[in-house]
Amino acid sequence: MTYRVKTGVIGAAILPCVTGIKQSLEEVLYDVTQRALRDAGITIEDIDGIVVGGNDQYDGRAISIMAASGSVGGVDRDILSTPSSGEHAFVMGALRVASGHFRTQLIVAWSPTESSSISEVQRLAADPYYHRRLPLDEMGAHAMQANVLLAGEPGLMALARQVAAKNRANGAASYPEIAASGPGVARYPLEPEMAMAPITGAVALVLASEDFVTEHARPVAWISGMGWATEPSFLGDRDLATVPALEAACAQAYGEAGITDPLDAFDVAELADATPFQELLAYEGLGLAPRADWAARVADGTFSPTGRLPVNLSGGAQSLNPVYCTGLIRIAEIALQVLGRAGRHQRADVRTGLAHAASGDAMQYNTVVVLRRGEQGAMS
């Protein structure tokens, strides 16, 4: 499929850890929006439309886009919301620019911690027909997925520890003031170092069309390929040791971007890592390392910060876990890497980056984005 209009990211801002109560949620969104606009070198007047991703139950508002809208410039503008995930807001925004009907889109996602319990909030997602009586939250689902993997390969625990350690060390280096250093959330079989407690965060990106980029002479990270797909509704219907939806999303994205050798094609990657088991599954689903090679790749440091393809230089969700927006943050991190504005954890000479976002129970939604500096992909 060829996209009508070439689309790219021209700015991003990440607030992966908002602490204290100085700001209301709306004020945090205002802040992250202003930062993203500044990073993009434009003003709100240049924004044609907005797509936001927020979860009503996390927010404590029955229609989360309502109060958020004003903060992100929604008044007098075309604004949509994709509550399924923050990264879906990116997908929707990219489609809108690619359609030719919009020259720019502002994308914003956020994840507050004002509810008495994120776990309890997440449990409301269990259907009332069969599963609501079970303590089924997302961490529980991730843990079950880990369990299924371990049942197949007990040695995986050691690998998972190493992946977690890698990410924690990356986070400490990239976001020293805020990255988690204490123990996380233990949920059998996950060890405390393998998953972080939820924190408040927000993220925003600016997308622009080729015309806009040219007219405004902005540096850009082109969307060279984009894919998204979902697993089925019930955990019990899935083989949790595999992620077919990730493979489907990956095929879409790589097909558009012309990627045939992913280890070779990418300079840097940010992958879903609510747990290190997810990152391992992502290695396989994205064609970076089939499971038979996981041990070897972890041992030889291919995905370490100095390796051939550094994964999660930001530290990932294992360092900073604003649950609902961790997916969009992966995309924003890669956009900033490609734009050369990733700051402390910028990798040198990044031309092509890979972002993978997963949301929901045990990687239910998977979104894959290939971002590239200066080359033509299928989105042209």
Partner: protein
């Protein structure tokens, strides 16, 4: 065939940070029984209730302006139906543009006989002058105040 049902209740508690602007507003209300708006520098409008930024201009708001206690009814309604979790009817509430403010703030109208809706609607019609009344014991909440018709 037998059709079954299941009852579920949502019960989550939220602790929402009000931020500096709303916090200051409520502290003034609680401690001094005064209401304030904040000015949007670009349009000049004094926004009540106050916010840190204007959603119209996306500019930060600037100075605080004391508003009220007098004001003008901008709209109202009178509720005669009971809804779960909402007050027992009848009650009247709506929006009042306080003196010195440019936008209207929501609140209850008290002291109006609601038994005859048409008569009550005439008393509460748009443009009617009202005065803000404050509760003896205030907690820093929008229910610390309400509006009553200005007596002649």
């Amino acid at each position: 065939m037998e059709l079954l049902k299941r009852q579920e209740t949502w019960n989550i508690t939220y602790t929402h940070a009000l931020g500096e602007t709303a916090s200051w507003f409520y502290v003034q209300l609680r401690d001094n029984a005064k209401l304030y708006g904040k000015r949007d520098a670009k349009s000049g409008r004094v926004l009540v209730p106050p916010r840190a930024f204007s959603d119209q201009t996306l500019e930060p708001t600037t100075d605080w302006v004391e508003v009220g206690p007098g004001g003008r009814i901008e709209t109202f309604t009178m509720v005669y139906e009971a809804f779960n979790g909402l007050p027992p009817p009848p009650y009247a509430f709506g929006y009042v543009k306080l003196d010195q403010a440019d936008t209207a703030i929501g609140g209850f109208f008290r002291g109006v006989d609601l038994t005859d809706p048409a008569a009550a609607a005439e008393k509460l019609k748009i443009g009617t002058r009202v005065v803000t009344r404050f509760a003896e014991k205030r907690t820093g909440d929008v229910l610390d105040f309400w509006f009553e018709l200005e007596t002649a």
